[in-house]
Symmetry: C2
Subunit: 491 residues, 2 copies
Amino acid sequence: MAKKLVKRSENYSEWYNELVVKADLAENSAVRGCMVIKPYGYAIWEKIQRILDDFFKETGHQNAYFPIFIPKSYFEKEAEHVEGFAKECAVVTHHRLKPKENNEKGLECDPNAKLEEELIVRPTSETIIWDTYRGWVQSYRDLPILCNQWANVVRWEMRTRMFLRTAEFLWQEGHTAHATSEEAIEETKKMLDVYAHFAQKFMAMPVIKGVKSPNERFAGAIDTYCIEAMMQDGKALQAGTSHFLGQNFARAFDVKFLSKENKLEYVWATSWGVSTRLMGALIMSHSDDNGLVLPPKLAPLQVVIIPIYKTDEEFEMINNEADKIISFLKSRGISVKYDDRKEYSAGWKFNEYELKGVPIRITLGARDLKEGLVEVARRDNLTKETISVDKVNEYTENLLEEIQKNLFNRALSFRQTNTRKVNSWEEFLVEIEKGGFLLCHWDGTPETEEKIKELTKATIRCIPLEGEEEEGKCVYSGKKSNKRVVFARSY
Amino acid sequence: MAKKLVKRSENYSEWYNELVVKADLAENSAVRGCMVIKPYGYAIWEKIQRILDDFFKETGHQNAYFPIFIPKSYFEKEAEHVEGFAKECAVVTHHRLKPKENNEKGLECDPNAKLEEELIVRPTSETIIWDTYRGWVQSYRDLPILCNQWANVVRWEMRTRMFLRTAEFLWQEGHTAHATSEEAIEETKKMLDVYAHFAQKFMAMPVIKGVKSPNERFAGAIDTYCIEAMMQDGKALQAGTSHFLGQNFARAFDVKFLSKENKLEYVWATSWGVSTRLMGALIMSHSDDNGLVLPPKLAPLQVVIIPIYKTDEEFEMINNEADKIISFLKSRGISVKYDDRKEYSAGWKFNEYELKGVPIRITLGARDLKEGLVEVARRDNLTKETISVDKVNEYTENLLEEIQKNLFNRALSFRQTNTRKVNSWEEFLVEIEKGGFLLCHWDGTPETEEKIKELTKATIRCIPLEGEEEEGKCVYSGKKSNKRVVFARSY
């Protein structure tokens, strides 16, 4: 199989598509817009799940599971939500197939099995969950409810790309219920922090925490907080969102509680989620023209050891050395594989693990080893070191940390280089074509944002939480503004 | 809330339904046949998942994810499979809703968004997976493929009961591909052993391993292996199945490989699964009229500590003691909760944890403690011991193991008591009314099995793998038979 990828500089989009397939992460299925996540890709997703799930539990959340189907009428209850979610979706109308009539081959919907009310395959679960919460809440003692769900969801997207935008995707959705607005806002921000921490410390992906402008807000939310990352083509990718939903869903589904003051009040809500889209973000943050590059903390395989030898004696000597290294690395919780398969050449293996982004490759060559040396290659910057075999354990362990840091710093420096303050519309038109993040003043109106999007395809990715106040004039309208926002083209 | 349950002896079925709801395991949702799995129930399912997943990985399997939707035509490709699975199912026919016309309120399917081919929400994934495997297999070097998927599936059941039979349920489905029939059969049996080991060692539920009769076989399988358990009402529950699929799906989806001998051959298949039905089996194996009884290895909370005191000084003394016990138990990986909430009485707490099946309750009473004593109550047999406080750590740790064993032995002895050899049809008619397993000779024909089912509602649960050969006559037809099979009414 031709493993060589198109270069990023030639066709970034094609490079991504090829990489996903050739690194065995996923493939398109026969079902329009749905992907198959292959074992290697799924192993990365499992690592993401496990780490996030631990964070959710540490912050007091429990997992639960709600039905995949949502009655059509539920979407009609929250006016904005219906606009955002009940349009392009998978609609179940029948519950039975029957053999075709008139001796034709095949199956057809049984007209006697038409559902009274259509069911929607969940695009998100606020409605069914808030319908359920009504039964769980009577008094303030029943609050907060801190639930999370790991699930599949379906949004009938017109243009799909593996991991980035698929009809079916996997995600987690947290749905919490609180007695006060303050507590709900605090929860919204807390989960945003969890996402940012995960993105930066585990995915090695720097993110900007911010709030969405009204145009980009979740349908039904009062405020949508987000983390935004910059991909290697300079486009923005929204990597996670946390919504303060106010009392909108409690009103729509009549979820009230008796407060400490004995008053009947509507419950306050949040929801927050990340999805298999993170896989796309991970791939595009670090990978290069040779293939996938994975941060050690999310790599299913962190170290691979490859023997090079001619004689059986040499192979045995190498095996002995490999055993020692493996048992040390395993004792440190490092995942390691010894690829001693004879049907593949060392060169083939080098390419294979490079393509799959294994952070460290240790080559045990018979000649080197006789001189007490081994070669350690790092995937992040493609450099190699020849080191003394008695230092390899410690060296490898430290190198994993070093690579994790280096990937983050490299991505951060890339983002910094590609983030610019822009003060005039003329400048904006030039700079947006170069890609990257433009820090601009904005007059705060949806009309201006809409206009800028129409003219340049750039949107406000977020109003950064940490941006400093600064007097200025809107880059488009010239009206007053007191903070810069992040404009970019996005995935 | 009234926590008291209907008694098993009064109405077993109602006891089960009430227990599921009152122990906070699950509840019915607004969507017909779909349940909400509540956090406490889901925590048990997560334990089941984690343990099984570790076993799957130890036996060389990897997880992957395949689309939830299956094109209608896929079901038409395997003749028996379509009979079994493409009937009562959720059929997606449209991909868009639109506002109703004529100023009516609400949404309706957009006739312009009718799918060319209907999509079925997967009832099981053999078809979509074998369609995918076609692209993964060229030569014997690509085999075996050992994949598992954790997913939701939908079967439009007419009568549903939480966990036991729901329209949507959660499960894992393993799908493996092999170069030889022998290897596939070995895999089928290996996974049956994994299920049996899990059921007995973790669920404390004795099972009979066996093969299904043709009537009860999975649609599309050559052989279906199963584990069967006896519930407390004497009914059988199929707790897991492992199918040898032969080359049926490879033929239907044209999956061939080049063998070592350079011949093009069809690939051999297995599939195997367990579902949230195991939750129903777990509940019905051990629970009693006071509520849930959980084996320690699957209990989300293994030990609860409850203080009883009058003064602040007493409370402080108890807190100190609790701290010591907690830190010991945690160091041993035992999950423990100290319920020192003041808004609930000790009596309320006793009932609550009894209802929820927490295996051990330690009561720290001020009066006892002053004499160096604590009370340890076990949930399985509802007995209490007063023991010296300096022995409580070791005692508790050992008691968890003791409870695990006791639950298994109790269930095994129940099954033995309710399993009888039956040799005549008159006897059969009497004995089947008493419930339990009847070991009978059977002439091996589907007609006889069908007739017995029609007359008594009993079916062959399995032909036990470990049953000895024995000459005899079919309990119904009187024809020759050389092995007894297990007849029972079942869930």
